[in-house]
């Protein structure tokens, strides 16, 4: 069954990249469950403070994790924010962060479900 939020082929690529041990993958997924929200909170603070560079770096960081775990929509939202961080109005950026929060929530939920199913 294909998940709308997560691209399973990305997870397979990640598993191959780390040598094929599902336990390692599980550990990384676990890390994402708390690192993702932590990065989001950094983005929210940066957006509030108007720190565009910090916002850009956090968006870049979350983007690469989202890609690794196949969270396509989250990755796209992060990529957009990363590029817009320097140019867009702060209000628009805050909206983007809000969208990222929603996508992250979905991605974390979907990944947790996947982990539960595979576990």
């Amino acid at each position: 069954m294909r998940d709308d939020v997560i691209d399973p082929s990305a997870l397979e690529r990640l598993l191959a990249a780390i040598g094929g041990d599902p336990e390692d993958l599980e550990e990384l997924l676990g890390d994402f469950q708390h690192e993702g929200p932590r990065t989001l909170s950094q983005m929210q603070s940066a957006a509030r403070a108007g720190d565009r560079d910090a916002l850009r770096i956090s968006a870049h960081s979350l983007k690469s994790n989202a890609r690794d775990f196949g969270a396509v929509a989250l990755a796209t939202a992060c990529e957009g924010t990363e590029h817009a961080a320097i140019t867009d109005e702060l209000e628009a950026l805050r909206m983007r962060v809000h969208l990222i929060a929603t996508e992250l929530d979905r991605a974390c939920g979907a990944l947790a479900k996947l982990a539960q199913r595979d576990g």
């Binding site: 690529r13 990249a17 780390i18 994402f32 690192e35 960081s61 690469s64 690794d68």
Partner: protein, 510 residues
């Protein structure tokens, strides 16, 4: 070390230590797991600053470097690594999301990155890129090591050009241990330098022994004059104490005058002044007084023989304190010299006529005082003070110490203003006193206390020679044999060895 340094990396590559630099903890962990799976060790740095610190603390074989990081980004890390000679050659693979970071990758490679790795990498790609970087690094390391050795050999050749042949200075020991053509070249190079150094060192020591022997004879000859001159002065109505004040005073004026002319008058610290006071007390007062008393009660030849014991005392002190070499050969040399002196004394004089035991024991103070003087001069002499100033100061101080005693005992000699025979004699004795001490001082400084102590032999022989010359006697074959024996002794004793490296003046370059 490999035998063929320029053809490395064909054998199975050893484990490498990889530094992973990424501010994202999940990316760090992902890379660490991947690197470990390839059989290498990984250490993690959370930002650029920590990465640079770790790079200075440990030798990493490669760096996997993220570009977008807060504060110090990957470009900064790369630039600083390339600017530092110790990290310049560590290969850096930048980790990037190629789709939107192409420009960054190009810039990183322009800054000196070895390669790049997409963030969503394949393990096979990571392996290929890492191994390629590592084998280039290994090759470069071996090349550097090889060129480093060539540089060291060139530096050693440069040292030879400056006359430094001592194998310790050339510092080629570890190069010689390499079992390759360069190692063998270093071995031949060092071997030849060592051979030349040893030969020159032997020659240098032989010359030093010869110079030392001449100085010993000169000291003996000059000192040997003193008793004859003293006797002549006594015949002209002088007394020993008054004579000593004048002789030491004249010698002091002479030496200090020369030091003044050479602009070498020293500024002395209290510690240095104390040395000259001790020296004046030992040489100017105690030795002189002991000589007067002993000479009056012990037969002259016996006294000469006793004085020669100073060499053995100095040798014993040198052996205990380690201030000079004290080996069997040097001791043998002293014994050979003693046998030469004994040969003269026992055949020419009636040593057995001697003296009472108590006076013989008292006379033993003399070699002890001479030995003490030699040791103090060798060990405590302030080496920066000019030789003329040193001798002048000592003589001046001893004259100053003796003068009140001479005045109190009514022994001051009224000399001048007319220059008579006694005045001329006192002047000559001052000259002799100054030159004998200058020679002795120089001898102790250059040849050491043990070698210097042989001047007691020369002094005894010189006494005989002066006697023969003055009395017109012929030198018997026995006396010649005694001379030869003493010279042989000096060859065995050898002057002290200088710790400084011998420089050999030679030029090979065109």
């Amino acid at each position: 070390m490999d035998d063929a340094p320029l053809h490395a990396s064909e054998a199975k590559a050893p484990l490498a230590l990889i530094l992973v630099v990424d501010d994202n903890p999940i990316n760090r962990k992902k890379l660490r797991i991947a690197v470990n799976n390839l059989g290498h060790d990984a250490e993690l740095a959370v930002d650029g600053r920590e990465a640079l610190e770790m790079l200075t603390e440990r030798d990493f074989d490669a760096v996997l470097l993220d570009i977008v990081m807060p504060e110090m980004d990957g470009f900064d890390v790369l630039s600083r690594m390339k600017a530092n000679p110790s990290t310049r050659d560590v290969p850096v693979i930048v980790v990037s999301a190629l789709d939107d970071e192409t420009e960054s990758v190009v810039r990183a490679i322009e800054l000196g990155a070895e390669d790049f790795l997409p963030k969503s990498f394949d393990l096979v790609i990571l392996k290929a890129r890492l191994e390629a970087s590592l084998s280039r690094k290994r090759f470069r390391d071996q090349e550097k090591e090889y060129f480093g050795r060539i540089e060291r050999l060139t530096a050693a050749a440069e040292k030879l050009e400056h006359g430094r042949f001592d194998p310790d200075s050339l510092a080629l020991d570890d190069l010689v241990r390499h079992n390759d053509p360069l190692g063998r070249l270093a071995a031949v190079f060092r071997g030849m330098a060592n051979e030349i150094y040893e030969r020159e060192l032997k020659l240098h020591r032989a010359i030093a022994t010869l110079q030392g022997a001449f100085l010993v004879l000169a000291v003996g000859l000059v000192w040997g004059l003193t008793p004859a001159l003293s006797r002549m002065a006594a015949g002209l109505g002088s007394n020993p104490l008054g004579l000593a004040v004048w002789v030491n005073g004249i010698a002091a004026l002479l030496c200090l005058g020369i030091a003044c002319y050479r602009r070498c008058l020293p500024q002395l610290s209290w510690k240095e002044l104390r040395f000259f006071v001790y020296w004046a007390v030992i040489a100017g007062i105690l030795q002189r007084m002991t000589t007067f008393v002993a000479a009056a009660n012990v037969e002259a030849a016996m006294l000469s023989l006793i004085v020669t014991l100073q060499g053995f005392i100095v040798f014993a002190v040198a052996a205990v304190t380690g201030m000079e070499r004290a080996n069997a050969k040097r001791l043998m040399g002293l014994l050979v010299g003693l046998s030469g002196v004994s040969l003269v004394l026992f055949t020419r004089f009636d040593v057995a006529a001697g003296a009472q035991k108590a006076w013989l024991i008292f006379a033993m103070l003399l070699p002890l005082l001479f030995a003490l003087e030699a040791l103090v001069l060798a060990g405590k002499r302030p080496s920066h003070v000019d030789i003329f100033a040193s001798v002048g100061l000592m003589m001046g101080l001893s004259a100053a110490f003796l003068a009140p005693v001479a005045w109190a005992t009514d022994s001051l000699l009224p000399l001048g203003p007319d220059i008579g025979r006694l005045e001329m004699l006192v002047l000559l004795m001052g000259l002799v006193g100054a030159s004998s001490l200058l020679l002795a001082f120089h001898l102790v400084a250059t040849a050491g206390a043990v070698f210097y102590s042989q001047s007691a032999y020369a002094m005894t022989i010189a006494g005989v020679v002066w006697g023969m010359l003055l009395l017109g006697e012929e030198l018997s074959p026995l006396a010649w044999l005694a001379f030869a024996t003493i010279i042989l002794g000096m060859y065995l004793v050898e002057p002290k060895r200088n710790d400084e490296e011998l420089l050999i003046k030679r030029s090979f370059a065109q």
